[in-house]
Symmetry: D3
């Protein structure tokens, strides 16, 4: 048998290995949050897009949620406006909100949609305003962390209601929905929502099988200073304790919150994984082993999918 | 009988008068282009939106196409970039294209979608990139009108292919699609398309019953200087002659072209009407009389719908 | 703006005003009883018919029930037979029953069906015998009101069972069912049923959204002698008290009974309105205000629909 | 084996014999005209009704058409009005038409419907006015046969259009349609139609498998005076010749005409059979042999079904 | 009326008599076990097959289960292998199992399928291994009746799970499933199952309307020596008592067990009838009287179907 | 990045490589013939079975056809009957036919069905007699190759008609049909058919996308003595020439014939490949390159799928 044929056979065995996962996930919904560093590199982007298209072809319904903070900041700078943050959230006055919406919906979303379509998928981009997909309430002014000062975050909101009908319509017709993290307020105003939270809430509303948050670190570490301390399975109670202890902080907090929101509403599995790994989505889904950190309701053995 | 009751009866008679039109247009598609001045006034906007929602409720499938040149120009100015036009078209370099897309898709589209949803409709906004709805070819450099100079219009395109499947999916589920005049090129690049042309091509691809172009004049005049010279019915041959004679010019040219594209593909009726009239859409649709100018394949008597 | 255009705009506004009602009543069933004086005048007939057709076109399912006492009496006279009444009900011997059935099913019903079809609707006439739509029990002999004398009303019955399947089949295919107030007895005999009761029972069996009884008075008056004493909203308890006190009497009693039967089975709203008003049905349905008397389970504020 | 068991086995064999016909006729439409003497006897009526119900249960779609001349004449007499005939057709003035419609639709039709329902079928009665099932044109005044005198037959018509949609709706939901031979004219007026012609036209419009005309003679005789001269198979040409020769006359003419109308439009088989035979319908359908006279496009061997 | 016609009419009356049973059993499933002597005679076979096809045509869903002990024994003999029985069951070593499966699935089943198809039905043969229709557990070694000796019956099993999906798929598409009494074990091995038990379990899993076991005696006798002592209706308690008393024995025991399994799971009626009677299935189903012995949950009057 | 992760990524890339083939073959039918040596080895069997199940899961409809000559010969020997061949075909007397049918349908088929089900697929075994899937004509006596002697091959047939309805029913419900190469004759007798021919005819009747014949050689060689002379693409004309020249002979002839039958009826691609290669099916389907010999209508470049 030639070397070439042997290699082909090895490839066929990989397909056969994927079979149990195909069976397990047929017709299930996966909500995938994609952002940060992973979104910047052309190579990482293509890897995520190809994974998404494969998932769709084999009968899974992926729904992609994206943010785009870096692009927003860049555009604000071009307009001579300084980005202001408080409690890790962008202070969003009306002018900033306009820019956030334009950049996320009119630029980042369309780039992703274009990439998926160019590689053979069928994507449709949506903002949370389309079909009232995401309805939110404006967040009241709150104390700045570690201070008595009160800050009005402006058009920043928390999701109150998800109307997922349009997603089901699109998924059942073969489309991959791509969703910008913008919601509509009760008065019709645009509201800026944390994209991790959007993903968590959509997963909850769709009773998704999996919520997968792609980020630019390997996962959650028991001690970020110790590379070997990556946590495979993080039970809810331990996650809350680590937040309180400050061991989970900054951008990782809304990710963990999104996982907890989703778990509470019956989502099967929630994962925080490293989007810089080529084919990170497939690795997570099609191996027994899994990658990154899985957040769970209770302590479990292993990190299977 | 009290005066109040008499007024109510008069209203009921209006509903009864609408009955023949309900019968005639049930389940038909109407492509409506909405732009320019009509889009600026809050009052005109609401009037158009309410008309759209009514059409949807009584069983017609309206599809809304919008442009947004004025908003684009404003944003370019804020970014310190000057709008350049040639042959009546925006010279669209890469940076300009980015702004055009952001403003149309991320701002104007979402405002319209939000308005429809707030008044009780269910709108979903789409760019021509979503689901590869509008596929275009970049326009080659062309001579400047009346000169030997050649100009590269940049990312300006002409539609080559329409994939209307996503519109049918959304319409059949009760949504009103709202479409920005952006297409995708063969290399995945964004292309700026004249919004009237987009409407004409969509009407053609959907075999729409009507194409209605809302503008900010009363219609086409035999002599614009003579108010009474509004043309009710404009046969194709006469329209072409008026363009050649310069009697139809500027922004009216693409509108007439859109009507002719649509008529060629079997669209029933094409109309250029005054969007500043309250309920212009209903007036056009629900009266025997019609308003504005109807462009037709051949000379016809009257201007009925 | 010309006067003509202003009038058209005013008409368009009427359509827009109707929008909330379209939303509210889409796909709901309305059972409408039509009889007495309203049925005699050609003008009133046409008004009712046009209203019915409009309701059907905009997505409501109207079901029409009719009686026809005056026509029956006329035919009996032609046959040299005298109409006899007891307790407000026609004493119906076999020969009379034959005439009742022929006149209602073979004449009145077909006239209404023909009118609807001629004006653009699609009507199908049914007797309660068709598809066993109305199954009734013969009423046992009863005491004459205010006397010790017992009278056998003959083939007069009370509905025991409604089989509404055929109505749903016809409504879903775009037809307007028109129903004569004849039922079938357990031995297959024809039975004469009060048409108001038929309407009440059909509304109950269909869980209709509305029962509307068109009559030839304005509604129920607190004191019929005082024109201004029309009651907008009549709670059940008050209605029963007025019957006991004799303030509601004669032909109004079965109407109120029909409303109460329907309310008990979960029908949303029940109305007794003046069929002589042009477009009485539309007035009732498409105005906040309503007309005539609404009978309700409990006291309510206002008389909205 | 006991005698009782032997008899049961013989019965089972009858069912098995019916099997090829079940296969052949599954889901086919049979239009059956029923009238005259056969309709008068209670015993014959029940036999026809039971046959119809059996056909429906085993998957055939029977459609019943009835006339009712004798009952009409009786009612006219009760009203002191004399029946007048010309050219074998009832001269139908407005008053007569009213009586014809009342008797057929309101009496005869409902009796048949009631009988079917009482014996376990689900019948719905229709006039040709329902759902515009039968649209006709008034017959112009014509010469009296064998005379120069011209007679206006009044509201007598010829069918111009059949709208069979309502029959298909009802048949597919398990109902047996029972149709009175009344049509609607272009001005909405009622028109009296020969019931044999109605059956022929309905069979044609439905592309029925069979048209069966139940009458009160054994079929068509070569010489009515010779009992043994019953014609099993009558080719079209021979039928026309016999009409010209006066050998087929009176009430048999419209029956033969109905067969010829149906044959022209592709109806499979047309039969004139003796409705006085118990289970005449089953005999015709479920035996190779057939009964009565089959009218055919061309000469055929045998009279199989 | 000729004698021939009179006979035809008598036949039509038989069809009419069958009508109430058609109504009663439309769309119901009947599981029929067919075996033993009845399967050997060509004449009996054809009678059963014709009955099955008739049942299918008139809307009942028959499912046929067969065994084939005699054929198995014959093939074993040809292979020089002796059939060994213990406790009335075939001791089934691996080689015997191979023969059992080949004979039942590859010979007996295909003969029945072929017969049904040749007579106009559409049959599909299945083993319990197809689509995992019958999953069984191997029976542990057991004591020989009336002895201390323990015998391993080999590949003999008891059904643990029925997956009837494939039967519903086939029945709904017009096929008659024919099932061999072979099951699949948890390790994929073939297991020999008593065919009466297979029928009982399938009837239970399908919530069949009837379980009918065709055998080669008239039914169950109170005293087999007394021909007149056939029991029409045998309540469960009495059946169990008769087994304990040895009055029901040998091959009749699994039949009674099958009836009891089915009754417990809600099967309507269970019958043990004489397959040697021509058209035994039709006699049982289409007569009020019934034949053979009906086993019931409790004592009932009569033996109707 | 750890070595383990690198390996996982390589595996994910294999899945991504498969994507274009998934797109290309979604919902297509593949008819696969499996026999000879490949069927004997447990390892090869499992490899084929796993490939089939994977194909089914990713949306392809595989249909498996099998023969089983070696097993038949073995059973005939056990019965003391000698296998006789003429012109490369088994001389099949009635006794031999019985054994062929029992072994193929009752043993080989059920083993394959069992294996598929045990590994997670849902298989249903069929003979050509089930649902009259394969109808054949008995082959008339023919001359022995290279002799004047005439031989009656007995119950050997050629397919005349394929009724693929049952395959479509089963495929659409998720089942993998497994088909034994037995047909039914016009008199209901069993006929032995070459399994390659069965596969070719089924592919033709189903307008399959691919016909794949798994064998135990690498493909067709220009000169079997020269290992390097494997032919990748064999145009029809060249194949016929090689048969005439005796360069294709014995068991390879019916395989080439099957390919030609299929090509004539519009089957997309036909392949003869080496079933001894692990995952031969996947290699053929999921690589651009392909393996074995592709038989084509006309000369083509390359051997892509």
């Amino acid at each position: 048998m030639s070397k070439e044929i042997k290699e082909l056979i090895a490839k066929a065995e990989v397909l056969i290995e994927a079979l149990p996962y195909l069976r397990k996930f047929a017709d299930k919904s996966f909500v995938i949050k994609y952002g940060g560093q992973a979104m910047v590199s052309e190579e990482f982007k293509k890897s995520v897009i190809m994974d998404l298209i494969l998932l769709k072809y084999i009968g899974i319904n992926p729904i992609l949620v994206h943010g785009g903070g870096a692009e927003v900041t860049r555009m604000l700078e071009r307009l001579g406006k300084k980005a202001v943050f408080a409690n890790g959230l962008r202070v969003t006055d009306a002018e900033t909100m306009e820019v956030v919406e334009m950049v996320l919906v009119g630029k980042v979303n369309k780039e992703i949609v274009g990439l998926i379509n160019r590689h053979g998928g069928k994507a449709v981009g949506l903002s949370g305003k389309d079909a009232d997909l995401l309805v939110a309430r404006r967040r009241p002014p709150e104390k700045v962390n570690g201070s008595e000062q009160v800050v009005d975050l402006g058009q920043v909101g928390d999701i109150e209601q998800v109307n997922p009908g349009v997603l089901q319509t699109l998924c059942s017709q073969g489309y991959i929905p791509v969703i910008s993290s913008i919601a509509v307020g009760r008065e019709g105003e645009s509201l800026n929502i944390n994209a991790d939270h959007v993903a968590g809430q959509l997963a909850a509303a769709l009773r998704a099988e999996k919520l997968i948050l792609l980020t630019d670190v390997e996962g959650i570490f028991a001690d970020p200073a110790i590379p070997g301390s990556l946590i495979s399975t993080l039970p809810k109670e331990q996650a809350l304790a680590m937040i309180r202890a400050g061991k989970i902080n900054k951008g990782m907090i809304p990710k963990v919150e999104a996982c907890l929101m989703a778990l509470e509403q019956g989502v099967g599995r929630t994962h925080i994984i490293d989007g810089r790994l080529p084919h990170a989505l497939l690795l997570e889904i099609f191996t027994d082993h899994g990658i990154g950190t899985m957040v769970t309701e209770q302590g479990e053995n292993g990190n299977g999918n």
